[in-house]
């Protein structure tokens, strides 16, 4: 209880909780769930973009995409490291992913069908991710907050690159413009679903908000994203697949149509073959790599043994 009071005071003062500090078990659990889910999303998220690396249309774009996917691997690393400060190992977390117990952002279950998807994923998906993540840079858990600062910086770079890719395509042939519009049509609704259920249907928000893990509500973030993105769409010359999308002078915001939550929950619940394929790809990589990890361990064991004999 004394610990609890100290913890609460630190939270209320806007201070950071560090790994060595006492924290309530539910705080720890919530953070592990949230950070690992985010880490898993980064590494699963390498797959839809990785799908186009070998077919990138120019060497410059191939290099940009490679660097981006590499950054995502890096984000996964920071985040697993942040989760490890809370007393779980990366292997345990990966096991939860591979066995289907842990979740990752269901946005990555959607397929990347054309090169324009690479641009749209950068623009909309990374854009929505940043909107979600910026508040986390000031979240109450220090290691997570510091990881998010670095991640947000890189993500906004990725978003600009995605947008630049689309600008180039929109200046190209009619076929290229159609490709961009088609990709926007497929990714728009999934992107705005990335902010999660409406506030009234959201379970974790109150407690998380108290802890400074979730500082802004789903609906507020979503509105912010829509407002920013619709303006960018105008510059780009694409239209969002939502006839109800229009500026509301009174609210000072864009109104938009009703979200198809059945679709959202279907994808979250894994009733998508995308989920099956993504998970199978991760599990296969892990299983195929088992002999490599074992070899590295065995080599280290042998050489530690030799070294200590020599000593």
């Amino acid at each position: 209880p004394a610990y609890q009071a100290e913890f609460d005071a630190k939270i209320d003062a806007g201070g950071y909780i560090e790994a060595k500090d006492w924290m309530p078990e539910s705080y720890r659990k919530t953070l592990v769930r949230q950070i690992s889910q985010h880490a898993h999303s980064e590494i699963v998220g390498m797959l839809p973009e990785g799908n186009w690396i070998t077919r990138a249309p120019t060497l410059k774009r191939k290099a940009i995409l490679l660097a981006k996917v590499q950054d995502e691997g890096g984000h996964g690393l920071y985040l697993y490291a942040a989760a490890e400060t809370l007393g779980v190992s990366r292997d345990e977390l990966l096991d939860a992913l591979h066995s289907g117990r842990a979740k990752y952002s269901s946005i990555f279950n959607y397929p990347t069908l054309t090169w324009a998807d690479i641009g749209v994923v950068g623009w909309l998906v990374d854009g929505a991710a940043i909107m979600n993540q910026i508040p986390l840079c000031k979240c109450s858990y220090g290691p997570y907050a510091r990881a998010m600062v670095r991640i947000c910086k890189e993500e906004s770079f990725h978003q600009r690159q995605g947008y630049d890719l689309l600008l180039t395509m929109m200046k190209g042939t009619e076929e290229q413009r159609d490709m961009v519009q088609d990709a926007v049509n497929r990714w728009w609704w999934p992107s705005i679903m990335m902010f999660g259920p409406h506030d009234k249907d959201s379970t974790h928000s109150a407690q998380s908000s108290r802890w400074g893990i979730k500082r802004i509500s789903n609906d507020d973030l979503r509105q912010k994203f829509v407002d920013a993105t619709v303006e960018q769409a105008k510059v780009l010359g694409v239209t969002m697949p939502d006839p109800e999308l229009k500026w509301n002078e009174a609210r000072g915001h864009y109104d938009f149509g009703a979200i198809d939550w059945d679709e959202f929950w279907n994808v979250v619940d894994g009733h998508g073959q995308g989920n099956v394929d993504r998970l199978a790809a991760r599990v296969k990589a892990w299983d195929d790599g088992a002999w490599v990890r074992e070899a590295a361990l065995e080599y280290a064991r042998k050489h530690d043994a030799r070294d200590s004999r020599a000593a």
């Binding site: 070998t54 191939k62 790809a281 195929d288 490599v292």
Partner: protein, 255 residues
């Protein structure tokens, strides 16, 4: 741009360097998201990125030397198979992580020697590219060499896989050192070394690591591959079909 020293051999020599980087970079990029551990996902992406970067500089340079207005992308994506001059080794499928690492080790050890020599090229642009690329090659050779040792001297299974990879790949390394008039002409102009001269130095680099990895180096056989002469393996066509499809489908488009 060093027009006075440009010859067909010079262009082909630079293209060969560029194609090695391009094709191995393409292969390594296939690993993305599928490596045994996250650190290796990043390392493989990083090495692929280094090689694509080298390819961009080299193909741009080759295009300028050629003077027919072809840029890096026209050279990378719009040639037909016999016009690619990469070593056959670079185009072979990744297969498992062991074969990928053994290949990287054999290749980047060679590349390290090559860039060292090319740093003093009479082709100033090539010398500049070499100065940048040698650091990358050193890292690639270090990274892959460490893995060759760990896998070779790891478990019985990893030893067998590493040995199998070496047995499979070794015959293709003879191509590194195959003599060609292109090299002679280029060496005479001070552009770069005759590759066959590097064999002893290369063996001096790789043999100790293979020995530490407890691997047996196969005897040389009469087998020869001819990728750098434009005659590739059956794997090349499949790699190109995938790599070229966007440029082939949308000719002239900007991306």
């Amino acid at each position: 741009m060093t027009q006075q020293m440009t010859s067909p051999e010079h262009i082909e020599y630079v293209l060969r360097l560029g194609d090695n980087a391009l094709i191995l970079g393409q292969r390594l990029s296939e690993w993305c998201g599928h490596a045994p551990v996250l650190e290796e996902d990043m390392a493989l992406a990083n090495m692929s990125l280094d090689l694509i970067g080298q390819a961009r500089m080299l193909l741009t340079h080759a295009g300028r030397l050629e003077g027919r207005g072809r840029d890096e992308d026209q050279l990378a994506f719009l040639r037909t198979e016999p016009n690619y001059r990469n070593l056959t080794l670079c185009e072979l499928p990744n297969q498992d992580f062991g074969r990928t690492m053994v290949r990287n080790f054999l290749y980047s050890s060679f590349q390290k020697l090559l860039w060292e020599r090319l740093m003093t090229s009479s082709d100033a642009e090539l010398a500049a590219i070499a100065a940048k690329s040698i650091k990358e090659a050193r890292y690639h050779a270090q990274h892959s060499g460490d893995w060759v040792i760990r896998l070779g001297d790891g478990t019985a299974d990893s030893h067998a896989r590493a040995q199998g990879a070496l047995d499979y790949l070794w015959p293709y390394t003879a191509e590194f050192f195959a003599t060609t008039p292109v090299d002679d002409a280029v060496a005479a102009a001070g552009v770069g070394p005759v590759w066959s001269e590097l064999e002893t130095a290369w063996e001096a680099l790789v043999m100790p690591v293979l020995a530490e990895a407890t691997l047996t180096v196969p005897a040389r056989t009469p087998f020869r591959s001819y990728g750098k002469f434009g005659r590739h393996s059956e794997h090349m066509g499949h790699l190109l079909a995938e790599m070229q499809i966007m440029q082939r489908t949308y000719p002239g488009a900007q991306w």
